[in-house]
């Protein structure tokens, strides 16, 4: 095993290796920072160039492995600092962005770098130890076991719903419905596609998540006209290093979470989002104090970030040991290996010792280099959090919109982004937690696909008699009971201590408020469960604005249920029926609670609230933002997506900012948007832009 390191280490004397490492890290960094540009897309472009330009197989393969293996190291920066959430950074956004809003951005980023480095190194060491022996583990995990991991994620949905349990569960069921949109793979049933051909392939995931989480956050921040970080927050290098030391201090936790991330990453079919959410869930389960999760918890952030980096080495395991890619991007590394005449599999450690060794060395080395680089540039990057957000948003929002389009290159991404932005804003405003929705939409295809395939392969009895499936199922049930009990205790003790008072002006962690005076819905639920008479005022039935959300969700639930009942066969209809029924039931229950007990308070939920509600000038600012968005949409229709971003970037600062500075800001923002859309999207990716009325393709 250690021969591999010695053999691989011999390449370190080759200058080409260091050149390739620099290029790989540069590309990986770009992938991390730009929304919509995944490692698969970049590897697709790079692969033929590597095969043509790099003769030495070890160097060429290491370049490909570096791009895919380190492309998520920096993705926590846009999620934490700017609210740009990606497919693997939802937990980072949920916890890290709130930390930034509390003035702890530099500190938490420092801690993230530390645990990411630990995760990367742990992953590399695992790769070294496990390549020769991992085969039985990978082969023992089949469809049923992956479905059970999905069910563990569903347990997380209930945990993420604490503070507004009924809303959270409704949100989770809505997520399941959103996750099944598309033509069902094995029946051909068109599920909630509304006859739109492009939706047959499923909802564009990046656009959906950006719409639900990122764009509402950006619009809220733009409307606030404030910087992300509060005044006086420390963004110095010293603060970054203080966080880094804190991260290192938690090395035991980081190693534990890294092992978990690497193990899940080794199972083909589990993506970054599933791994980070499950790692977050595991971390919560093993924590003593659960009161801060979802509200800007450093622990929560580090649980996910430790696992995310280690996951890459996990995904390399089946690729190298079995020739079965752990993820789509690793499939391209596999193609590269075969093109160089290297057959992955159990014999790779004996036949191509140097390549395995060099990949391991590179993973460890790359993580250290990136950590040093991150530590040295963070102070400059943190300055972004000190700039009023209209200036940031003017450049970032069009980039995010184009990034969403880039990820699927189909027109439907734009209306989907707009629709889910509206849903995200409404949920954010009225205190409906969005994380359960996001998690459920990611889990829906994982659970449905794997569960029914498991039944098809093993039969219904065969599935439930597989030892590993049984063990995981028991784990799911135990964790569901344990976590829910602990969370209930935590929430009750927190509410007891705070007497239900909420400070909506707290930085970003402002709490979801339904509207007027409220008591905790957790309290309500608990007391209803005890069948005791609720100590809540019962009012006459009267509709309020927040009720419209519940009515909207109820309508969606009823419509989806009527559709789901027409889908052919159990395989196509079971999950839609369960999801639609759940959404209908919990929306109805929420509506009942709101109508019957309109005076109730809602507890703190695990989501980021609207920071602009009730602040001075917010309504005027919101109006200006809406005007800018209307201009943007009109510009997309008239001159196309390629140029519309320039108009948005010019208009937003002029409308939202004051003084001469706004004109300079507008020009700088437009230049940055132009560099991205015309320089990268058009020049590098040669995007086929959607048609517009005035400008031809």
């Amino acid at each position: 095993m250690f021969d591999a390191i010695i053999e691989g280490g011999k390449h370190l004397g080759d200058p080409a290796y260091w050149g390739v490492l620099a290029i790989g890290l540069g590309i990986a960094t770009a992938i991390s920072l730009v929304p919509g540009v995944g490692s698969t897309l970049m590897l697709g472009i790079a692969l033929p160039l590597v095969l043509v330009g790099v003769e030495e197989p070890a160097i060429g393969i290491v370049l490909l492995a570096t791009i895919t293996g380190t492309s998520n190291t920096f993705d926590s920066i846009p999620a934490q600092l700017l609210g740009i959430v990606g497919s693997g950074t939802q937990v980072t956004f949920l916890e890290g962005h709130q930390l930034t809003q509390k003035g702890l951005g530099a500190y938490s980023l420092g801690a993230v770098y530390a645990v990411s480095a630990i995760g990367g190194i742990v992953g590399a060491l695992l790769l070294l130890l496990l390549v020769p022996i991992i085969r039985p583990f990978i082969l023992s995990v089949s469809f049923g076991e992956i479905a059970m991991l999905g069910f563990f994620g569903i347990v997380m949905v209930s945990i993420l719903s604490y503070g507004a349990m009924i809303k959270g569960l409704a949100s989770g069921f809505l997520g399941l419905l959103v996750g099944i949109v598309g033509v069902h793979g094995s029946s051909g049933a068109e599920r909630l596609t509304f006859g739109v051909y492009e939706l047959g392939f499923g909802l564009p995931l990046v656009a959906t998540i950006l719409g639900l989480m990122a764009v509402p956050e950006m619009l809220d921040l733009v409307t606030s006209r404030q910087p992300v970080a509060p005044e006086g927050s420390d963004v110095s290098t010293r603060e970054v290093f203080r966080g880094f030391r804190e991260g290192l201090r938690r090395w035991k936790m980081a190693i534990r979470q890294s092992l978990f991330g690497a193990a899940f990453g080794a199972i083909p079919g589990t993506g970054a989002a599933v791994v980070t959410w499950l790692s977050y869930g595991l971390g919560i389960a093993l924590s003593k104090d659960r009161s801060e999760f979802g509200k800007g918890s450093l622990d929560g952030l580090l649980f996910a970030e430790s696992a995310e980096n280690a996951k890459e080495a996990g995904q390399a395991l089946p690729t190298l040991a079995l020739g079965i890619p752990g993820a789509t991007s690793w499939a391209l590394v596999l193609v590269g290996m075969m093109a160089y005449g290297i057959t992955p599999g159990p014999n790779i450690l004996t036949q191509h010792t140097d390549i395995v060794g060099l990949i391991i060395i590179t993973f460890a080395l790359a993580n250290l280099i990136l950590t040093v680089a991150a530590l040295s540039v963070t102070r400059q990057v943190m300055r972004l959090t000190k700039i009023p957000y209209p200036a940031i948003g003017a450049a970032i929002i069009p980039v995010v919109v184009v990034g969403a389009f880039l990820s699927d290159l189909i027109f439907v991404t734009l209306p989907v982004l707009a629709l889910f932005t509206a849903i995200g804003l409404i949920m954010k405003h009225y205190g409906w937690p969005r994380p359960p929705l996001v998690l459920a939409l990611i889990l829906a295809p994982v659970i449905e696909g794997n569960l029914f395939t498991a039944i098809a392969v093993f039969g219904p009895i065969g599935v439930i008699t597989r030892p590993l499936t049984i063990a995981l199922a028991v784990g799911v049930v135990v964790s569901a009971v344990f976590l829910n009990r602990k969370m209930r205790q935590t929430m009750q003790s927190v509410e007891g201590a705070s007497s239900g008072q909420i400070d909506p002006s707290a930085h970003g962690s402002s709490v979801q408020v339904d509207g007027n005076d409220h008591t905790s819905s957790v309290q309500v639920t608990a007391e209803l469960a005890k069948k005791s008479s609720p100590a809540l005022p019962i009012s006459r039935w009267r509709l309020h604005r927040p009720d419209v959300v519940a009515i909207g969700f109820l309508t969606i639930g009823v419509y989806a249920l009527s559709e789901a009942l027409t889908y052919p066969g159990a395989r196509a209809s079971t999950l839609p029926i369960v999801a639609a029924s759940g959404l209908t039931l919990f929306s109805l229950l929420q509506l009942f609670m709101q109508l019957r007990y309109p005076e109730r308070k809602q507890g703190e939920i695990m989501d980021i609230g609207m920071r602009t509600v009730g602040t001075e000038g917010a309504q005027v600012a919101m109006l200006k933002v809406l005007v800018t968005l209307a201009i943007y949409v009109s510009a997309i229709v008239l001159v196309g997506l390629k140029y519309a971003g320039l108009i948005f970037a010019l208009v937003l600062p002029i409308l939202l900012m004051q003084g001469r500075r706004r004109f300079i800001t507008a020009l700088v923002a437009a230049a940055l948007v132009g560099l991205f859309t015309i320089g990268i999207a058009d020049g590098l990716f040669h995007v086929f832009w959607p048609s517009s009325l005035l400008v031809s393709r």
Binding site: L33, L322, S329, M338, G345, F676
Partner: protein, 370 residues
């Protein structure tokens, strides 16, 4: 941030500027088409009708890196990926000013457009630049079946042949998903069909390794490349090949692995006529990776590109390198010949469409819908 990204990736943007000259506007002094002037400074856009990282994607991108050197004016080449029907519609509708090339994995995708409601293109109006002769397709058997080749499975009852596929409705039953029901009936073998949500080669290889299925099929070259160790170790067996390209099996088999028989040699004689009719729906249709343009593109532009592809494919250095990458020999079929093949395959396909539809519906009801 973006400045850093742009400077990092900026080198790759070179050559992307597009001029707006048309073929008719690039005439030499004698009025002839000036290809050098036409292509200079332009970017040829190649739409790959399959996802990033697949065989067609890698092959096309590899070709794209070399193609400019064989074209006048040294134009830029920019590949991008779209779904097949949407992408081919785009290529079909391209104006005469656009240099837009479609790339698909096989001719079958093109003529299947005849029966695709979403297809806004006429397959036979497309101008083909050429295509690779198809890679033979292989049937892989699990070693635990205890057979030497597919002929031995005739009458096989226990264990049943277990086959997985992703089929969303009768019209989705093509290739091996069509082939296997036919083979099971023809060979009177007991078969179980398993619906999966993803029947990519990685998933099927994993299911074979886990012994959840025991039969699969795919391109011979890619399977030999990816399953080399399993074949050598005897865990998997090459059961048969079909859709064999002219000249026989050109892939280098791993040491100790016997050459499999052709499927037509083990099929019962009374089923041979039907087997011939099935070719357009179980195979590639005579062309694998195929390059095509829309009907609006001027003929002189198409001809220059055809010559460019031919010159590239005649370049020994390139062929050697390309063949090494794919572990096989490359046979390129020039545009006019490729069009003839497409016409022929389309004719057979259209002629037998009713028969295919009937079988597809029955196979869906009897095997795949459950």
């Amino acid at each position: 941030m973006l400045v850093a990204i742009v400077s990092l990736l900026g080198a790759a943007c070179a050559g992307s500027a597009e001029s707006t000259t048309t073929a008719s506007g690039d005439s030499g002094d004698d009025g002839s088409f000036d290809a050098e002037a036409y292509f200079e400074g332009k970017t040829i856009r190649i739409v790959i009708m399959h996802s990033v990282g697949g065989g067609t994607d890698v092959t096309t991108r590899y070709l794209a890196t070399h193609l400019p050197g064989f074209l006048p004016g040294n134009p830029g080449v920019a590949p991008t990926n779209l779904n097949f029907t949407g992408g081919t519609n785009l290529v079909y509708e391209a104006s005469e000013d656009e240099i837009l090339i479609g790339a698909t994995s096989k001719a079958q995708n093109l003529y299947a457009g005849v029966a695709d409601e979403q297809a806004a293109y006429e397959p036979l109006e497309l101008q083909l630049l050429g295509g690779l002769a198809p890679d033979s397709r292989a049937i892989i058997l699990h070693g635990n079946l205890g057979v030497d080749d597919f002929g031995d499975v005739a009458g096989q009852q226990d264990p049943p042949l277990r086959i997985a596929g992703e089929v969303a409705g009768a019209e989705e039953i093509v290739d091996e998903r069509f082939l296997f029901p036919w083979l099971c009936e023809t060979f009177e073998a007991n078969c179980e069909f398993i619906q999966v949500d993803d029947d990519g080669s990685a998933t099927l290889n994993l299911m074979m390794e886990r012994e959840e299925i025991n039969v699969t099929a795919g391109g011979l070259v890619s399977r030999v490349n990816s399953l080399g160790e399993a074949l050598t170790a005897g865990r998997f067996v090459l059961g048969a090949v079909f859709d064999v390209q002219e000249g026989g099996i050109d892939v280098e088999l791993p040491e100790g692995v016997d050459a499999p028989p052709e499927l037509k040699d083990v099929i019962p004689a009374d089923s041979m006529d039907e087997w011939e009719v099935l070719q357009p729906i179980v195979g590639n249709g005579g062309l694998s990776t195929t390059f095509y343009m829309g009907p609006n593109v001027p003929e002189e532009v198409v001809n220059v590109l055809r010559e460019g592809f031919l010159a590239l494919m005649a370049d020994e250095e390139f062929l050697e390198a390309f063949g090494e990458q794919l572990n096989t020999t490359i046979n390129f079929i020039p545009g006019p010949e490729a069009e003839e093949i497409l016409i022929e395959s389309t004719a057979i396909y259209e002629e037998n469409l009713a028969f295919y539809n009937e079988l597809q519906t029955r196979y869906w009801d009897d095997y795949w819908s459950g």
